[in-house]
């Protein structure tokens, strides 16, 4: 089976380079390399965020930040390339510390997303104060201390999603840095439409995404074909073809071919697994265990107390054997998770470690960092996947 997780491939390449070079110059070398491969026309200064949304890490300490209010994607070279220092112990009620660090009460912040720098182990949070919309990128170190990523003087590039200031794109649901492109999924604030943006590497400051799909569809309940917004996704390649594997509001996991994507073209996804209704997928990642590759996703289910539903929390997660993704053109026959059981059909399993998981991201191998609901507060901890 030929398969690669594009982002992770990039990370390992950088890791090899780390081993080959040495001393103080390592970090600069790696960062410069990551910078030159991925970024062009790098700016120094303040990216001027109006909002912060989804965030994700690429290789070499590159942090991708979506700004839905400005309809832009920014890539910051954090120069945070290790050494690896994992979170030493669980940090209870990290939301309380985050709020205090920003000078407000816990109910006055919104932790929008979390990304883990797998090279340094540091946890990055995109946070907005509800009181005044003040955005921030905060960094949690191995001791659980909250630090500020000072945005006044960073190395960055910023690209606009088409439409610029008048863009109707107001919700950027996902961002990912693949080996050959930056991907973003976004929703309009007017028509019920969802768009996938693809920007080739290197990302050049001041440019605009020029390849995008006009619409995405999926088939729900084996019968109804509707437009559907992608909530989270990962880049994925198989048999030499590139895809986005995405999860939708109502909640099939579907894959979309990327290679034929042309500006303005409509792309139709192939639903491969249905997880059950009422779920809002939050994050998605892939990992390997016992020689199998798994797709892991955590979701929020708003009618979780409905009779017969499995699980102790409205936040829960599932792993899906990635062999399911080989399926071709099976919209109507997509595998359906048995919503009343912990497992089944074969290769689709509820993951206990994801109960209460509001955000997850991969640290390394089978380790993930979980931001977990604790009676309305949020605990930060490392979890080992099955």
């Amino acid at each position: 089976m030929i398969r690669s997780r594009i982002v992770k491939a990039g990370v390992s390449m950088v890791a090899v380079m780390l081993l080959l070079t040495g001393g103080q110059t390592i970090q600069a070398g790696v960062t410069q390399d990551a910078g030159s491969k991925y970024l062009d026309n790098v700016q120094k200064g303040n990216p001027g965020f109006k909002s912060v949304g989804k965030i994700t890490f690429g290789p070499g300490g590159l942090l991708v930040v979506a700004d839905p209010a400005k309809a832009t994607i920014t890539v910051i070279d954090t120069h945070d390339v290790g050494p690896l220092k994992k979170l030493e112990k669980k940090v209870p009620k990290i939301d309380v510390a985050v709020a205090a660090s920003m000078g407000v009460e816990p109910d006055q912040i919104n932790i929008v997303d979390m990304a883990v720098n797998s090279q340094s182990g540091k946890v990055y949070l995109s946070v907005q104060r509800k009181t005044d919309g003040q955005p921030a990128i905060l960094v949690i170190d191995e001791k659980g201390k909250v630090k500020n990523l000072d945005l006044s003087e960073v190395d960055y590039i910023q690209v606009a999603l088409p439409g610029g200031k008048d863009s109707k794109i107001r919700s950027i649901t996902g961002v990912a840095l693949a080996s050959d492109r930056l991907l973003a999924a976004a929703q309009s604030n007017e028509e019920f439409a969802n768009k996938i943006y693809s920007i080739p590497l290197p990302l050049t400051h001041g440019t605009s995404a020029d390849i995008y799909s006009a619409e995405t569809y999926h088939v729900a309940h084996r019968k109804w074909e509707t437009k559907a917004p992608i909530q989270s996704f990962v880049p994925y390649s198989n048999k030499g073809k590139n895809y986005i594997v995405g999860a939708f509001s109502c909640t099939p996991i579907a894959k979309f071919p990327l290679d034929e994507l042309q500006s303005g073209s409509k792309v139709k996804g192939t639903s491969v697994v249905e997880l059950g209704s009422g779920n809002r997928p939050l994050d998605m990642l892939t990992y390997e265990s016992d020689g199998k590759e798994w797709l892991l996703t955590n979701t929020f289910r708003f009618h979780w107390q409905k009779k017969g539903m499995f699980g102790p929390s409205k936040w829960w997660g599932v792993r899906v054997n990635m062999d399911y993704l080989d399926a071709e053109d099976i919209n109507e026959e997509a595998a359906r998770r048995d919503v009343k059981q912990k497992q089944g059909p074969n290769g689709i399993e509820i993951v206990d470690q994801l109960f209460g998981a509001v955000h997850i991201d991969k640290l390394q191998k089978k380790e993930i960092v979980v931001l977990r609901d604790n009676a309305g507060h949020l605990d930060l901890e490392i979890a080992e996947l099955p």
């Binding site: 510390a97 009460e105 509800k130 919309g133 000072d150 919700s171 109804w224 437009k227 109502c250 303005g264």
Partner: protein
């Protein structure tokens, strides 16, 4: 000899010892001279005159050498010495506000990383003991409270809710809510509820929890959950539809919801409507009726749309072009609950050919667009409408 001495001087440890010695003498003298202990340090707040949320917290030392123990230290040590917290968060286990520390001669300045919040009360605390200067001779803890009042402005208002009509299809999809000023964002859905007036109960979980704001943050697009609004889609089957035809509803907005100014709405906002038969028909321009104005006038071109269509898309997806395909500048007005679209040109109409250009993403109230119905029943082999491009046009001429 000189070389040997300068070599020693370069060593930080000697520097530190010398400095400490100097400080000991300095503080002893200061005390011996009867200078009150608190005079060694003074805590002050320097607020920006035009924006009180921006301020500097400053401790001025009687001598800059009193800061010697803070040189080359980390942020946490600075926070132990000078911290800023909300008054309600004085607990030691809670971290202080993040920010930047710097020295300017005798001044230790703290600039918070983020503006302070209107309506908030903060306390700056200076803890000289944390400087670990000598014994506890300089231990005079200083603190000062800083409160930022809410601005002296009117509370925010809901200026409009669209659709403006009182009859909405049972598969209605979205509302546009306009405010007089930008509102607080993030987890806003607790401020919305849908009350079924016929059944006298709240409708559980009707909204799609995705915040979609206009760039000026004064218009929110509020969606009913699409998965519950379409027959046959999973949530609709499991939980039922949100609206039942023939019943009366009230969309409610909580008075507690505050604007960025800090002021709440103050009064509950209600939008009452009756659900009518579902709309599964795509809008089509063939059903539209154009009432053309006379040449030489600036009277509006009036387009009767056959049904109410989406408020925002009517403004962004319709345009008039001239015979050369050039966009005619003018103003769009909507009437009769968004079932009439009017266009007033900036310049008088010419006796010429024009066309109305319509983006096919234009939707009705139930999400059916000119290009596509909201949902297609594959089992019925229901065909999608024949493929249409990005735009359709309605030609007309002015005489």
């Amino acid at each position: 000899m000189v070389k040997w001495f300068s070599h020693f001087l370069r060593r930080p440890v000697w520097y530190a010892l010398l400095l400490l010695f100097g400080l000991l003498i300095f503080s002893e003298r200061a005390l011996a001279a009867g200078v009150p202990k608190e005079a060694l340090f003074q805590l002050s707040i320097e607020a920006n005159k035009s924006d009180p949320r921006l301020c500097l917290f400053v401790v001025t030392a009687a001598d800059e050498r009193l800061w010697s123990t803070l040189i080359n230290t980390d942020e946490e040590q600075f926070q132990r010495v000078l911290s800023l917290k909300r008054e309600t968060q004085s607990d030691k286990s809670l971290p202080a506000m993040l920010g930047r520390y710097q020295f300017k001669d005798q001044r230790l300045e703290f600039k918070p990383a983020f503006p302070l919040v209107r309506g908030g009360r903060y306390q700056a605390v200076f803890e000289p003991a944390a400087l670990k200067l000598t014994t506890n001779k300089t231990d005079q803890r200083l603190h000062q409270t800083y409160a930022i009042p809410l601005p002296d402005t009117q509370p925010p208002r809901v200026t409009a809710v669209y659709p403006s009509g009182k009859r909405l299809p049972a598969n209605h999809l979205k509302f546009y809510i306009q405010f007089s000023e930008p509102m607080q964002q993030g987890e806003i859905f607790e401020h919305f509820s849908l009350f079924n007036k016929t059944q006298k109960q709240l409708v559980p979980r009707p909204f799609r929890h995705t915040e979609l704001w206009s760039p000026d943050a004064k218009q929110l697009t509020l969606w009913f959950h699409p998965g519950r609004q379409k027959v046959g889609v999973n949530l609709n089957v499991e939980l039922g539809a949100i609206l039942n035809a023939g019943q009366e509803y009230e969309l409610r907005i909580s008075p507690k919801w505050a604007a960025l100014s800090g002021h709440p709405l103050g009064t509950e906002v209600k939008k009452t409507f009756t659900a009518v038969t579902m709309d599964e028909r795509q809008p089509t321009i063939n059903a539209w009726e154009l009432n053309k104005p006379k040449q030489g006038t600036r009277k509006p071109l009036v387009c009767e749309l056959d049904e109410p269509l989406d408020f925002a898309l009517l403004r962004s997806q319709l345009a008039v072009t001239d015979a050369n395909g050039k966009r005619v500048p003018g103003k769009i007005e909507l009437a009769k609950h968004e079932s009439v679209w009017r266009f007033v040109p900036e310049q008088p109409w010419l006796a010429d050919a024009y066309q109305l250009v319509v983006g096919t993403v234009l939707e009705d109230l139930a999400g059916n667009s000119i290009a596509r119905p909201f949902a297609i029943d594959l089992s019925k082999k229901q065909a999608a409408s024949k493929t249409v491009g990005e735009f359709v046009t309605l030609p007309f001429s002015i005489n």
